[in-house]
Symmetry: C2
Subunit: 655 residues, 2 copies
């Protein structure tokens, strides 16, 4: 270990961070200054990576959970040779067009493994990375060839550890004995409000011990110690490790270090000058020559590591052609079409149950589907075929994951599994509890990860569990999240197609909104309905010929209700449209939309949720919705109590 080079690297991280933040007049110097030494040894010595091939499948992963310290990451990516982060990016830190955005954004530059910033989610996604590693290793490694063997490193701060999502994920990681997860805890005892003594005096080490983690302690500023602790973390294969590094926030800024003032504001000209004098930084955006030389020399070493792995991988490929084909399929990002279950019109089946049949078919065709529920395997109906097995300490090849009653961590872990590569994760809970995981769902969307969210019990038709369990505003609130695709199928046949549509979507998450109650499979007048469904809506049935008197737009279980009302409406010419995805349909060209909902024709909307968002299609008085919290009672009685019935719809139609 070249201590001088590491020191000069740390110096350069400080210099770049100070200047980038000062120039942007915005950013968080506290972390990059306080943890620069860890960064130096991490990118120089600890990470098994090759900056010239940042997509190398067996690289170690590093996730900056404390994403506000983004200059830490950008400095090190640049110094260690990741081409995507140039000095110009750093000089235009936090400006439009710079890959050095305010917080690390996945997809912006190779080397950024995850979008972080919303606290607690980085470490939770890292758990997912570690899960995925075990899953790949169990499937593809052989006695002769260990082609999957890498670590997941995290840098987390006080904020990450205070957030509940990290508690959920860390308990899960301990339970599952994720030995290749190594979390460095930058323990500087300072948050935005001041000392952690204000709100956070728990014994975090003891808590993590209680989760089943190995606890290690040291100083942020002792390279030898960090190296030794990391070795011990790697040596413990049965437990994740929390490496608590005592640090000084903003270290190097002589007057502001160790204060809350340096957490999230530029140093200011005076303190920049003081820090430069104190640290010996000779100029703007300084990179020490020793650091440049060090990393230049490192490239060959890393390329060799990468090439050795490639040789191993090639040998493995030759000896295991079938595994290799599967590997390629796992990593292709493309789904294999499945033979979907079929149904007869008139069958009564809940779309959650139809969802399970579809999931089974899709999971049989796609061995890289993994996932589970937050302790609702049977109510959410997301069991996998028995041969898929359960992912446990003992069976890392298992595919069903028991996440526990931890919705938020579940979703964050699925983000991590997806980001890692190789798998298509799904997760499930009651739709009303999509609120619990919403912040992670937003990151799925922002990172364009094709995670599939199975959300069952999708309306007041949940019945007896009452308003705490009956979604009202959730469908509307999911639809408006950018890049999330929301699909609410109306019967078992549509559910099968919805699963296919979710699988076809290679980029961005999909929410499958499914019913608890049985729905009757209805006949489809349109022979091409499956294809037409893919624009987001299709015509289920039209009574009478020619231009309809009105179009009834419904989704999910309300399509059946619309059909019932249309039936009762007698000689009116009514067109019933199933709009499986409102936002998808609204994104279609006018021609496509007009063919389904002709402009100038009266449209009536029926959906068991808030009306908001439907005014594009119908007048307020032509929307049958539920704009209040629900009630506890049997489903039909509850709907009646809320005035949400076929008769109520009929009344609107007849008006």
């Amino acid at each position: 270990m070249n201590i001088t080079a590491l020191e000069k690297t740390a110096l350069s991280v400080r210099a770049l961070s100070i200047d980038a933040i000062q120039k942007a007049n915005s950013g968080h110097p506290g972390l990059p200054l306080g943890a620069a030494e860890l960064g130096a040894i991490l990118y120089g010595e600890l990470l098994r990576h090759d900056p010239s091939d940042p997509a190398w499948a067996d690289r170690d992963r590093f996730i900056l959970s404390a994403g506000h310290g983004s200059m830490f990451l950008y400095s090190l990516l640049h110094l260690s040779g990741y081409r995507d982060i140039t000095l110009d990016d750093i000089k235009s830190f936090r400006q439009i067009g710079s890959r050095a955005a305010g917080h690390p954004e996945y997809g912006m530059a190779a080397g950024i493994e995850a979008t972080s910033g919303p606290l607690g989610q980085g470490i939770s996604m890292a758990v997912g990375f570690a899960v995925a590693e075990t899953m790949l290793a169990a499937r593809f490694n052989t006695g002769a060839h260990k082609i999957v063997d890498h670590y997941t490193y995290v840098l987390a701060g006080d904020g990450c550890l205070m957030e509940g999502v990290s508690a959920e994920a860390s308990s899960f990681a301990g339970h599952q004995g994720l030995g290749k997860l190594i979390v460095f805890y930058d323990s500087n005892k300072i948050t935005i409000d001041g000392s952690t003594d204000l709100a956070f005096t728990e014994d975090a080490a003891k808590r993590y011990e209680a989760y089943g983690w190995q606890i290690l302690r040291g100083s942020m500023y002792d390279f030898g110690e960090i190296a030794e602790l990391t070795a011990r973390a790697k040596a413990e294969s049965g437990k994740p490790s929390l490496v608590i590094l005592t640090s000084i926030i903003g270290k190097g800024a002589p007057n502001k270090q160790n204060t809350a003032g340096i957490h999230g504001a530029p140093l200011g000209d005076e303190e920049v000058a003081a820090a430069r004098a104190h640290l010996g930084i000779p100029g703007d955006f300084y990179i020490a020559p020793e650091a440049r030389d060090y990393f230049r020399a490192k490239q060959a070493e890393w390329k060799k590591i990468r090439a050795d792995w490639q040789a191993l991988f090639d040998a493995w490929s030759r000896e295991n052609p079938e595994k290799r084909r599967e590997w390629d399929q796992f990593h292709s990002g493309r789904a294999v079409p499945a033979a979907l279950p079929s149904y007869r019109a008139g069958e009564k089946i809940a779309t959650r149950s139809a969802g399970n049949k579809a999931l089974t078919a899709v999971a049989e065709a796609n061995a890289n589907i993994v996932g589970g529920a937050a302790d609702l395997k049977s109510p959410n109906a997301v069991g996998l075929p028995a041969e898929a097995g359960t992912w446990t300490k003992q069976n890392r090849a298992g595919r069903y994951i028991h996440f526990g009653i931890r919705e938020f961590a579940m979703a964050a872990i699925c983000n991590g599994i997806s980001l890692h590569g190789g798998f298509r994760p799904f997760c499930a809970t009651f739709m009303v509890f999509s609120d619990y995981l919403r912040p992670a769902l937003r990151l799925s969307a922002l990172m364009k990860q094709p995670v599939i969210y199975v959300l069952t019990h999708d309306s007041v038709f949940v019945g007896e569990d009452g308003p705490t369990h009956q979604p009202i505003e959730h469908l509307a609130s999911l639809r408006i999240m950018p890049d999330l695709r929301t699909l609410r199928p109306a019967d078992a046949e549509e559910t099968a197609e919805a699963w296919a549509m979710a699988m076809e979507r290679g980029s961005g998450p999909t929410a499958l909104i499914l019913s608890r109650q049985n729905l009757t499979v209805f006949p489809k007048a349109d022979p091409n309905w499956k294809q037409n469904l893919r624009v987001g809506a299709y015509i289920v049935r039209q009574t009478g010929d020619g231009t309809p008197d009105a179009v009834i737009i419904a989704t999910g279980s309300e399509v059946g209700l619309a059909l019932e009302a249309a039936e009762k409406a007698g000689d009116k010419k009514l067109r019933v449209v199933s709009m499986i995805s409102k936002e998808l349909f609204e994104s279609q060209p006018a021609g496509v939309r007009n063919a389904i909902v002709p402009p100038g024709t009266r449209a009536i909307v029926c959906e068991a949720g808030v009306h908001s968002g439907w005014e594009r299609w119908a007048k307020p008085e032509d929307i049958l919705s539920i704009d209040r919290f629900g009630e506890s009672g049997p489903a039909a009685k509850t709907a009646e109590h809320l005035g949400f019935t076929a008769d109520a719809l009929l009344k609107i139609i007849s008006r």
Copy 2:
């Protein structure tokens, strides 16, 4: 302690729960059967309460955090003499109109202290109850008279302990040394999916020890032990206590107890018969005479306790008339009007800063306002006047609360403070992180608690922090939550009024949506604008006379942008409307709405968020919105990059 009576009470809880759930053919027998003994001793011996006066301010509180076990609560409320839960309610458990709803619903019956069911939130709200108790005690108790002196009891299950929100709240409770919080942990090792070994093998006791709690252990089925452990919990005044009671889920159902099958499904006829035989239950909805007699005899004892307190309170009132006046004010539920800050047109001030001025004024007038932020006191601008002090172990009279980086627990704790009575809590975070606390916000709304949520950094005008910190879909997603009032003031003057409106609202939560960036105070053409604002929208300015060519509806910072565009639009007759609360305005009679936005007049909408919901007022092409995630860059550049400028609005106007 009359052991026989307690045993017969437990038997009656089992009998009522079995039958109610069987009759409803829906519900969760696992908890009421498994924890019946705790229920018996809790309602019979431990709680200091008076069922004939369930609103008694100094009663002990009990929160059933595992709300799915609602029959536990209903059985005990009925048995112990709370009049709101009749045997008929129990016989119509989970039916429309029954006060015995699927999950306990606050407001449905006296004795239900909080709505529970969404896991983890009950215990977190209980932390708020315990906070409020210390706050009242510190303000009102005197050396001679301890009029506030009660405990908060909780029954929590494995699910409650797995959820991240309980981790946040429990860490906070430990930090704050809430000695009068006593949590019974029903440790039955079974969840819906099966054994807790599937996902939850952490050492929960050690974790709570790490939080700073006292840990006690015993059996659910030993009355003497429970009494002794509770005495030890009460004796420890500096730490909350976790009393771990080993239990058997569904105890008494001989074939189904200790299985996941009994968690959430009726026993079925056969098992009902077997349980009756096993337990010695002679008939339907059986209440043992010994239990009836026991609780009948208890009433006088409880009335005496209540009367003794009343005498104490009366004596205290006589000796401390000023305190008494303050007590009444605290408990009146009414806000005292404050002298709000005023501004001059042209002043530039962020609405978050104006919010702090208003909060200061309101908090000076209303000493029962307490609250704080999730480690963002200064960024959210929610500091209180210095004399308000900070609520800490050492200063229980303090009013500012450092919640730590725990948004979800913060909101749940505020719900608890509000439910407890006496205080008007507020809490604050960045608007984008309203997603983190959304499940608690929903409970505020469902329970109609007037908690005030201060959500700052309300749009892409946040700037450099980028898409993880820029709200896009949040404003729309907040507006559609039933019973939540969303207010987005457009300048400092409106912000002062928004705080007043929030305080005037005695029922239901309010979200104050405030800007990070400076906004210019604009002149208001309408002399009655403050009054008119209270319908949700008013006319800021109209260029030209007579019927306008178009109405521009804007909110928050976009009102300034609309005024700028209207200015540039030359001789067009334009009306600019500030719609501080879309949902409030939409709830007005047609006459009120039409006076602001005349029907038939072209309306244009401008808001820095998704367009959804605005189609009621404008055609899609007349809505200037942001329907994608944001970008990291200085605010103005970001807005320009996203095409969200006065010029873009002008283009729409000129079309």
